[in-house]
Amino acid sequence: MVLQFHEHIITELLEDSNGGLVILSSGLSLSKLVSSLLLLHSSSQGTLLILSPSSTTLKSKINLHLKTLNPQFYQIPAEITADLPAHHRHSLYTSGSVFFITPRILIVDLLTNKLPTSTISGIVILNAHSISETSTEAFIVRIFRSLNRNAYVRAFSDRPHAMVSGFAKAERTMKCLHIRKLHLWPRFQVYVSQELERDPPDVVDIRVPMTKYMVGIQKAIVEIMDACLKEMRKTNKVDVEDLTVENGLFKSFDEIVRRQLDPIWHTLGKKTKQLVSDLKTLRKLLDYLVRYDAITYLKYLDTLRVSESFRSVWIFAEASYKIFDYAKKRVYHLVRSDGVKLNESSKGIKNKKRKVKGDNKDTEEADVTSSTSSNHGIVLEEVLEEAPKWKVLREILEEVEEERQKQGMLREEVLAEGEDTDNGIVLVACKDERSCLQLEECITNNTKKVMRDEWKKYLLNKVQLRDIVNKKKKPKDPKGFGILDGVTPITHAQNAETSGINKQEHDALLAAASKLRNLAESNHVVEDTPQADSGGHARGKGKRKLGNKNGPIIIDGSGVQSNNKEELTGGKIGMSDSKNEVHTSETSPVSAGRFCETKHGGTSADDMVLRRHTCPDAVARDGKPLPPVHFYALESDQPILDILKPSIIIVYHPDMTFVREIEVYKSENPSKRLKVYFIFYEDSTEVQKFEASIRRENGAFESLIRQKSMMMIPVDQSGHGLGLNSTLDSDSNTPQNSLTRKAGGRKEVDKDMQVIVDMREFMSSLPNVLHQKGMRIIPVTLEVGDYILSPLICVERKSIQDLFASFTSGRLYHQVETMVRYYRIPVLLIEFSQDKSFSFQSASDIGDDVTPNSIISKLSLLALHFPRLRILWSRSLHATSEIFASLKANQDEPDETKAMRVGVPSEEGIVENDVRAENYNTSAVEFLRRLPGVTDSNYRAIMDGCKSLAELALLPVEKLAEIMGGHKAARTLRDFLDAKYPTLL
């Protein structure tokens, strides 16, 4: 069924035949809205083109909804791409149907007049937030409008906060799409809120307290973030208002900061740059704290320390010591073998040191009770703190199942009829696939086993690492394995002092690990465990058992573990309390009964989308039955609710968009009883972030509403001045006055300048900007170069990123080589991005020596080898178009058919215009130069010494040595020519 507010939106949108821009809150099902709109299309109106969104999930969602909305006649819109031949495309353009089309082919067909614009009823754009004046979409609309005034352009976005980044973004977007009407549909809009709140789902909000250490870590991270932000404020480079911890929680924060810093990036000191990247790291640490289990978190920290140490500022901050320390304490701590816990938290380092020494002596005398490893007497005691949410999740599931069975019995008594579409599946939504898998493990097996497995992996990983490190750089610095020491050395001095304890800790870890490894090996023999039902399963259990029996190091058993926990958490925040926190209205008596296993085969077509999961074995250990559960990763962005139709949803990682999706789902299925559990960590940044995301979206809408009231949209947006010689747009984009004055004003444009552009270049914005400047763009497939400005000038364009990449791959060298061959003025255009700094590197990054990897060296070498190559350095797209125009000023216009033929050999293999080809067999020369032993200095001699490649193939090595002037090179070449081709393929 169609949502009422969707109908409202569509009605409003249809009122203006010119089109409109719709911005709605995220999660309000943009895909359904678009699908409903598409269904209204009839072929008599003409063809409707949807610009293919970059996210394929949006497209597949639209297809799915089209199918469900109109199961009889649904027809998934076909996709028009460059792969379709031109005549085929033409027949589609005139068919009157709905199509997805890639922007690149659409613009090319518009420019080459292959698209009969009069047959098009309108264009739909799904990513309005990513459109700018220079984007291909804007280019398309500009040309399209100039050819067809009657068609509509409808643009959509469900990312309001992206629509307010930068100055008057919404207005600028509307201008470049030639749209007059802006439709804002926030969640708080009255129609929306009425409809969604009419019959809301039952919501249970569960606040789970974090463990003491989690709280500690979170506090430390926020502290460091705050310190970093303060530092950043001191630089005076970034708007102070944006620098808040709350902003710092979002990914978009990087964007805010980068947008302000990019233009001056090369002038920034190392410290500021490091601050920017540190803030990013810290945000991840906060996020992972509530997402990953304790061991994975520790592992992540370990790797961070290895990869970041000595560069990061934060890692040396006082508080970061706490992060590492607490993270470790969540996993293990050290005890003397006689059971006395090592006091690490003491502040006096001297004390600690003394104590450790004492330990050493003790153990030497006593010679340790425990086994294998530690002659130091320090052993590891596992803590393996479980994520508090795990237990809560299990409790909820158990409760749900009890409830369900109770109701099931009731229902059986009453009547087994009624459309019971309820398949009984509980949907658990968490952030990522990794969490899905782990939670699934937690539910099917048990949490202890999950932790134990992680722990095993962690330790084994350490052993392997140790092996590698030992092999590679043993002599270097034995205490410097960073990764293996648990405690962060704050300074070097302290490092020296604490190294004693680190070493012990280290050894203890390794001892535990090697013990484990031995166990694992011996376990291969002991195969017949009683529980053997499946391979992997059985092995895991086997290990556990063995671990139980021997080894005081690996202290297993719930007994010890829970003791530890008591000790750790001081019994106050123990997880057992969490039950009380669960405020549930219904508490049901335990009804022992059949385990309900529902195989749900209802949603056939979309099976591949879902990772199905039922857990019939879940009863085994705890004795309490669990309902079938489906784990869903929010990141995968599937229309899970429509496919699965759950009646119970557990939101394990709260997310604003998903909450909205639930609301929409509920109001679409008003008869369905829906219960939603939210699991939050109490007083965590998780809650903060969730609430902030709502505030942020509301803020964005408020700002949009203000903007809308003040907008200056020209009445005739579809109006004149859109033709090829559009001066309106280009004037605003060209601050170049003096030059145009010199060249006699804008007259040059009247000459109808034309530029031949390679088809592949339409991924970039330059053709658009050149067109804005008034040049005629002729798209063709070019063999040589990207832009042909005149019969003499051929340009290869490289963005900075491309430049580096194509130097590395050697592509640039060969591109320049062919340009030099065919054109009098071969040009390399190095195009910097407008909003990034205009330079390769800051002076401090240049280094002391000439090194082959530096971009300076590569450019120098290119210039040396191709002295005829000209290099253009362009600040921005607009600067490029200025340069092009001024270079063309006194040149002839390029010829399209000639340009296309350049570099393409005719049937006879002769390449036109190739001066060299008249004198040389170019492909033979090229071939020769690629043979081993042949170098820049001897290939000419070879060409003098023998006639052709076929002749070369017959020359004996002595003769080759004579020609090539060296025996070694000749041997290399001869060997390569005669090498037996490997047959085993």
Partner: protein
């Protein structure tokens, strides 16, 4: 004097005009010495450079043109080394670009004196260096090298390389194969056969 000359050959010769240019402090990896030269920096037998600060260009917009005009044509590489030392670059850089391009000079931009100095050093040090570091890292195993060589022939792809290799057994056999033998290979059509055959049998030099 001859020893002086050899010494000079390994050094960058700097025009007296450049005396006092702080850039000189940053030429440290190569020797340099003042000399009576027309260009600003004589970097090798056939390469030279002119130095231009954009700030200076704004004051003397015709300077570059006159300096280029003085240069003899007998240099293969004529570099204009442009120090980007103004904030608002678009207009002056456009002028410099146009002048350099239309008068056969290669423009190189540096954003600091260090960077400008490094360009001069590098061009000198790399005077006779082959281009392999910018020709792409190639795998050195037999198959990659064979593919690399054979794919110079237009439209020959990796599969064709395997076909040719297994059919003929070695590269010299492939190079000596007759048209007929080549045509017998699956996937190698008429045009490819002709291209391959011509590559191998047409002389390197078409005219003597």
């Amino acid at each position: 004097p001859s020893s002086q000359q050899t010494q000079n050959r390994n050094a960058i010769l700097v025009s007296n005009r450049q005396k006092g240019n702080p850039l000189l402090k940053h030429i440290r990896n190569v020797k340099w010495t003042f000399a009576d030269v027309v260009c600003d920096f004589l970097l090798g037998q056939s390469s030279c450079a002119l130095y231009l600060s954009l700030r200076y260009h704004l004051l003397h917009p015709d300077y570059l043109y006159y300096r280029i005009r003085e240069l003899q044509k007998n240099f293969k590489l004529r570099l204009v080394l442009c120090h980007v030392d103004v904030e608002d670059v678009v207009k002056p850089l456009l002028e410099v670009t146009k002048t350099a391009l239309l008068h056969d000079c290669t423009l190189v931009c540096g954003w600091s004196l260090e960077e400008c100095g490094r360009y001069l050093e590098t061009i000198k040090v790399y005077e006779n260096k082959p281009a392999d570091i910018i020709q792409g890292q190639m795998d050195t195993d037999y198959l990659s090298r064979l593919t690399h060589a054979l794919t110079t022939v237009r439209h020959v792809n990796k599969t064709d390389v395997v076909t040719l290799g297994t059919t003929f057994g070695s590269l010299s056999n492939i190079m000596g194969a007759s048209m007929e033998d080549l045509a017998r290979c699956p996937g190698i059509g008429e045009r490819k056969v002709k291209r391959l055959y011509d590559t191998f049998h047409e002389p390197f030099k078409r005219v003597e």
